[in-house]
């Protein structure tokens, strides 16, 4: 038995439920048997990778689902051995550059050259007249590639284009250098709308034979919408949340409180602290909490973002502009710098000043 996230994951293009036009385009792309390098971007939980895999499925058939993990070794320039995992099928492989830290340039060069030097042998579609001579390389979190690695990609993308197709997946395009953007087909996958998510949740509910206290569809949809909003339109989070809710009670009460994640509650409390009492003592209290959140692997930018939105929710309307501008400044600093606690505290202090 597996989690619903896995269980109800569509495997083919025609099973995908939302963003019809994108799906159609991808289908058309796949039907030609060839496609350019892709850069798929959009918020997490919007189905980027699901779409990519569905497209690959359309191209190569079910073989792409036969995934296995390979371990590749590389020697870095400092002669250190580096090993990392590559998820691969006969037709594609998937890498995550953040696994490799600062050595991603070497890895990407070596790996791509390695793949490019061998030509794919393809039986399946010979008869159709199309030969898949290329292998697909999926690069996860492409925005975390270092500049060096991206520069290394530039040339490789053109040089080995006969043997390799790249699909880069990222949340934003802001960290990707323009030459790469111009070499790829940009596909934006927006987050699914609330109604789309609730539709999906409804499907899952019927398939799982879940019991609800009320049987009217419209009432149920209200609950699903609540989940969708609560999970900030992240489908993955919504499904997990829904599964957890369903485990709590046999018949799901429509009035059930959704499960708030602990860190979200904590950040809510920080925002309350900032709003109610602007003092140094409070600032120090907040610092302790920030430390704890960071220790629990909550990324600093997410803390900042959640905190800002919590503040915006409950502050006076004339302060909103100030807060947003402060928030964006510190978001920039967080992404440039490395000592997140300085910036988080700076944000808290500035927000306090703005609010007092």
């Amino acid at each position: 038995m597996s989690l619903w996230v896995d269980k109800y994951r569509p495997k083919t293009l025609n099973k995908l439920s939302f963003h019809e036009s994108i799906t159609k385009n991808l289908g058309a792309l796949a039907s030609t048997g060839d496609f350019p390098h892709l850069l798929v971007y959009g918020p997490s939980g919007s189905g980027k990778k699901t779409r990519v895999y569905a497209t690959l499925h359309e191209l190569f058939g079910s073989q792409v689902e036969k995934l296995k993990i390979d371990v590749k070794t590389f020697t870095t320039s400092s002669n250190r051995k580096l090993e990392f995992n590559v998820l691969s099928s006969p037709y594609h492989l998937e890498i995550t550059p953040s696994d490799m830290g600062n050595n991603d340039r070497v890895v990407i060069q070596d790996l791509l050259k390695d793949i490019a030097s061998t030509e794919q042998v393809d039986f399946t579609s010979q008869q159709k007249g199309i030969k898949h001579r290329f292998k697909v390389v999926i690069i996860n979190e492409a925005d975390s590639l270092t500049r060096d690695a991206q520069a290394a990609l530039r040339r490789t993308m053109e040089k080995y284009s006969s043997n390799i197709r790249l699909i880069m997946i990222s949340n934003t395009t802001s960290n990707i250098i323009p030459p790469i953007k111009s070499r790829t087909l940009l596909v934006r996958i927006p987050a699914p709308s609330v109604s789309e998510i609730s539709q999906i949740l409804n499907n899952v509910a019927t398939k799982e034979n879940l019991k609800f206290s009320v049987n009217e569809e419209s009432e149920k949809l209200k609950l699903f919408e609540k989940i969708a909003i609560n999970s900030s339109q992240n489908l993955r989070k919504a499904l997990l949340c829904f599964e957890t809710v369903s485990m709590q009670n046999e018949t799901i009460q429509l009035s059930t409180n959704l499960i708030d994640l602990d860190w979200e509650i904590i950040i809510k409390n920080i925002s309350r602290l900032i709003l109610t009492n602007q003092s140094v003592a409070n600032l120090s209290k907040i610092r302790v909490i920030f430390y704890e959140l960071l220790a629990h692997c909550i990324p600093a930018r997410i803390i900042l973002k959640t905190l800002l939105f919590d503040l915006l929710e409950s502050c006076e309307s004339n302060k909103i502009e100030d807060l947003v501008s402060i928030g964006s400044t510190f978001d920039n600093r967080l992404s440039l710098g490395s000592k997140s606690i300085f910036h988080l505290e700076g944000f808290a202090a500035k927000a306090m000043v703005a609010l007092s």
Binding site: M1, S2, L3, D6, S44, S62, L67, V71, E83, N85, L87, T96, S98, D99, F123, T124, S125, Q126, Q127, I138, N140, E141, S231, R236, K237, E243, T244, M247, E250, I259, L261, D262, I265, S279, V280, A281, L283, S284, K285, R287, V288, I289, Y291, E292, L294, A295, H296, C297, P299, I302, R333, L336, G337, S338, K339, F342, H343, G346, A349, K350
Partner: protein
Amino acid sequence: MEDPVNLNFGESVLFNNADQATTDLGETNNNDMDFQSSLLFGGVQPQPESEQVNDLIEVEYGQIQPKKVKLFDGKVINLKPKVRKSINADEIKSSEEMDLIDMDNLFRIAKEKQAFKDNQEQLSEQQTKPKKKFKTSQVWTEKYRPKRFLQLCSAGNDRQYRMISHWLQRWSGVVFNTEYEYNQLNQHQNPHNIQNNVDQLGRPYRKILLVSGPPGIGKTTTVHLIAKQLGYNVEELNAANSMDVLPSTVNTGDNRYGNVNAALKLKIQNALTSNSIQAQGNKIISNGKPTCLVIDEIDTAGNSSDIIRVLNELIQSDQRALNKRGQPSGKKSKDNLLNRPIICIANDAFSTNSRTWGGFNMDKLRSISELISFQKPAFIKRSTGIKTGGKALNSVKEYIKDISEQENLKLEYNEINEIVEICEGDIRACINHLQFNGRKLENYVSSSPKINKDLQLSWFKLTDMLFKRDPQLNKEQDFDNLMEILLSGGGKSINSSSGTLDKVIRGCFNRYLDTVYYQDDSLVKPCELSEWLNFYDIIGTSNEIPQYSNLILLKFWQLFSEINPKKIVKSLLPDIKNIEFESNEMKKQNKALVKKLITNIPISLKVSLGGGFEDNQSMGLFVLPFLYKILFPELASSGSSNSLQVKSKNNLNDFDKLCLEKSASLFKSLQIEFETFKDNETNQLLLEINPNLDSLVFYDNDILTFNPKQIQLKRKWFFPMLQTEFDRITIQSKTVKRSITPETKNQSKKTKISSSVEFFKGQYDGISTQIQKPKEVDETSRIWVKYNEGYSNAVRKTIGWKDLWIS
């Protein structure tokens, strides 16, 4: 007559010129020169003393009758061409017929010799002088390495010392056969005596001890000492010698890698099976001491993966041998019982430096070894505001003081305090510091502080300076002073290495809130500071213009300095010094946890949970918290009563049964295990899951509190239920396999087929268009294919052509 000069005129020193001789004699006299040895006038007959009249000395040359004599006043009387320019004493002696003596030369030689002698005396003085005070042929860290257990500096690690010695003592049953009987008795009562962490043979449950801790607090020393005191002979393997290859006799193959590996294994096994021998006189006798293998620096050794692999093999073979024990063994088995203790030492038990196939080396080692971690003696802030170390730090200070007394360094207690603080409790660094700065510190006591301005400033001293303003100077002057110190004075050393600058900044950052709180309690200054901290952060990461980064310290001074900084009685932040360190440590630990979990997740689920293998944000954000709640469902029928009554599955209602089954299957597929863990402090048995998600999922602060007791209570009844569920699943799967009737087989396999069929479809319709679509074949006569994922013989099923060609 008595001569005032110490010259021995008996050997007849010749002075022809009165004046010259006087002055010269005066000089030589002062220098207390010994002419007897240095100047020999060969062939000169001693003359009656009467002839030597006071200062004027007339010398007649015995038989060699009157030859010309060169006078000192410049009158040259019949200079003989035979005179040599360079005369040395021996030559004079040998040349009997020499009738002219070059007094010039003689005095020159005398002077030279005198100078030489003086020089030598000076030199030897220089050499002996320091020897008197710093008589060291040894580095002090070696010299003062504790020789006995009682000499060990506790440094807050007493408990760890005792744990090591307990662990080692448990081996003595096997190694020395002393407590063997006692343990055997025990064994009959309960064969798996996990409570005492002892196995059937009385050995510790975990056969390897992993000692970890920061450098310089005496891990190696402690382990060596304890092992020696318990009668072991310590065989050390460290990063330096573990790479050695055994002599070419063991060259088993041309494969170099294999050779190294084999050599390593041989080496470890040799160490474990042999007793050490000693040479006494001509005979070599065994001293009867068993070996204790100590593997030092295991986390940094170049071939740590090999070492750990060998260790793993050893443990496995030991386990096999243990299981076979008692059974009559027909043939000699390869598996040997492990009967010598192995201790590994590492700085970081969670090191992720090196990794090999399927995980980090240290992870593999951790799983088979007992963990003991040494702590650094930490600074504690007393309520009085004075920074003092706890007991642990005091013991370090006492230790340093002992050394300083033995070396006669006469250090004040506050100086020792400073040394210890600079080195941050690293004992080895303290001793090094003491040895090499010992003399400097001596000056420090005696001389005024101004001279020593260019001495190294410690980072906390600088931090203090930044919060202080000199009342005698106006603001500009003071600012200039500080800038001077930062850019060229003592502060420079701090700025030159980014690590210390970081420490200063952190120190200031930790402190400024308190200062502001007492100053005006407004938030303007923190706001201003945040800009500068941003500047520091960005400059620091850019790595190009680091020389400007120290200017931020001036900003600290400008914002927060006071003429009379108050002692901070009660900080706003509890335990400020450690909070950051702890937060970082916990983050590391949690990240390692996520990695471990994520490697065990089945691939398809991994893909569904989002790409990243190791650095997946969403895992910590929401996946794991939700997952945890799914893994431990609130079972309604078990009710709110968390009583300890024995619950079984039968008591549950249908829905809860479902939940339980789901939870159990998830536990299985995620490879999460539960284990009992004995807390050494409270001596309680705790129920944990492995990997332990608790630290990631639970928060403990004012807002949300974490109640471990309740969780433990829940687990106490939940785990047994899960266990029975596990058993049920395994039994079920077995029985299902056995009792496959054709019909159930059809149903169970049907789902899989569609993909396999498609696979064949692709394979064959390319070859011939005549082939019917297998889907239709499916309807007429079914093909059952067994698909073994990941194997080369993935599809193995005899299919006749008939099956495929039937129309």
